[in-house]
């Protein structure tokens, strides 16, 4: 069962075309970047999402990460949680698994108790929606165990804030949906959530190697060295979008 990541904008047709060639473009971009000097290596697999520039039609790579050094506040929604599973614990576990891959404490996760305080909401698909996802930025039907949703703003120079369903403004930038029926057990839940946290931290793409946590259908519990290099690349890419 695959975990997946999608970046959506208000142009579904362009989006579908962009996603189909995202891997090729992001890989090329990671090979010639000047940011590969030093301990920040070339990404081992595509870390960006691609899109068609609405003005020119050119294909561009969308890299993103949180402001360096920031604490990312995560609300783990307990609603519709299957018995014996602990989504909040899976989020904490996933965050801890990624922390050693960041050499400079570029980001850390902290659970919060309210969606209004969150930058990221993680929830099961059967839970009542906490966000009012704008039209054109909604989640398409996918065959995945989880989806991380983030939407670029109109200028593609930042992430759109996803408004709360209760009318509050909030400051949620990402929404992670776990499809409970596609997750076999609590162990796989931790694995899938750790994979999605890789997307949350800045890896927009997927690995083709099953030994990597960012493989679409993750088979390992922790980031590999390739995952670590890819995250470090994403975190320090000079042209990345910061929410």
């Amino acid at each position: 069962m695959a975990a997946d990541s999608r970046r959506l904008r208000l142009a579904p047709r362009a989006l579908l075309r962009a996603l189909s060639i995202a891997a090729l473009v992001a890989s090329a971009a990671s090979c010639d970047s000047p940011s590969t000097n030093g301990p920040l290596p070339v990404a081992d697999y595509p870390v960006g999402l691609s899109y068609h520039d609405p003005a020119t039609g050119d294909l561009r790579v969308f890299l993103y990460h949180w402001p360096l050094g920031s604490v990312v506040r995560v609300y783990a929604d307990p609603a519709a949680q299957p018995a014996g599973w602990d989504l909040a614990a899976a989020v904490v576990d996933g965050g801890r698994r990624w922390e050693p891959e960041m050499y400079y404490r570029e980001a850390s996760l902290r659970l919060v108790s309210s969606p209004a305080d969150a930058d990221v909401i993680v929830h099961f698909d059967a839970a009542p929606p906490l966000l009012d996802i704008p039209a054109g930025c909604d989640v398409p039907f996918i065959q995945a165990a989880a989806v991380t949703l983030l939407c670029a703003n109109e200028r593609f120079d930042g992430l759109a804030t996803l408004p709360l369903a209760n009318g509050g403004a909030g400051h949620v930038k990402m929404d992670v949906t776990v499809v409970a029926t596609r997750v076999a057990d609590a162990a796989q839940l931790r694995r899938v959530v750790a994979h999605e946290i890789g997307h949350v931290l800045g890896i927009g793409g997927h690995s083709g190697n099953p030994a990597d946590l960012m493989y679409p259908a993750p088979e390992v519990d922790s980031p590999s060295e390739a995952d670590g290099r890819s995250l470090r690349y994403a975190l320090h890419a000079p042209d990345a979008v910061v929410p």
Binding site: P34, G38, P39, P67, G69, R105, H236
Partner: protein, 209 residues
């Protein structure tokens, strides 16, 4: 990945420090019949500003913020002009990381120096000194370059500076020194084995003759 090619073992560093003492103390002065004074104790309170521990190709820098330091020393005077001292000094400050205008804290770093220095006085007011020390640097274990360096391994440091007596009534001196610490993490290309140095500027006051 963590490895160290630093040859500066504790033994080597102490040997170098001892060599300074031996070189500074005996022969010329003894030949001139200069007598050594009884040892005196010095205490230093300093502020330390440090250069980058690490700079990478993206412009990211890891450096210690301005930190307080305290030092104690035992000093011997040889005649009117010369002296030697054995010193210990410690500092504790924050680790700051910056890139592209973003700044964030990444924990704390500590530095401890044990060393020896020789001093040349000019009258009762001015003095210059130079020394060598064994230096231990520790920092957050998850943050580069500290994560790649073996904790407990001493590094060789050298320093030079001067002093000026601030008052005649009390042995209070203003002191300033520049210190260079051999520290592999200064090279981002090879944080563990790359050769590099971290420069520190120390300034403050010293009490004691």
């Amino acid at each position: 990945m963590a490895r160290s090619t630093r040859p500066a073992s504790l033994g080597a560093a102490v040997s170098l420090a001892a060599a300074v003492v031996v070189a500074a103390a005996p022969s010329p002065l003894a030949a001139q019949g200069v007598e050594w004074t009884a040892p005196s104790v010095r205490v230093e309170l300093l502020a330390v500003g440090a250069g980058a521990f690490l700079t990478d190709g993206n412009g990211l820098e890891v450096r210690a913020g301005v930190a307080p330091a305290i030092g104690v020393a035992t000093a011997w005077r040889a005649g009117h002009h010369y002296g030697v001292e054995l010193f210990a000094r410690g500092s504790n400050g924050g680790v700051d990381v910056s890139q592209d205008g973003a700044h964030w804290s990444a924990g704390h770093t500590r530095q401890v120096d044990f060393g020896a220095a020789m001093e040349r006085r000019f009258g009762d007011v001015f003095g210059v000194r130079a020394g060598l020390a064994a230096t231990w640097i520790s920092g957050p274990a998850d943050v580069a370059p500290f994560r790649f360096m073996k904790s407990g391994t001493p590094h060789l440091s050298g320093e030079a500076g001067g002093s000026v007596r601030l008052t005649r009534r009390l042995p209070i001196h203003g002191v300033i020194a520049m210190q260079g610490v051999s520290y592999g993490g200064a090279s981002a290309t090879d944080p563990a084995g790359g050769r590099g140095s971290v420069m520190r500027l120390l300034g403050g006051v010293r009490y004691g003759r």
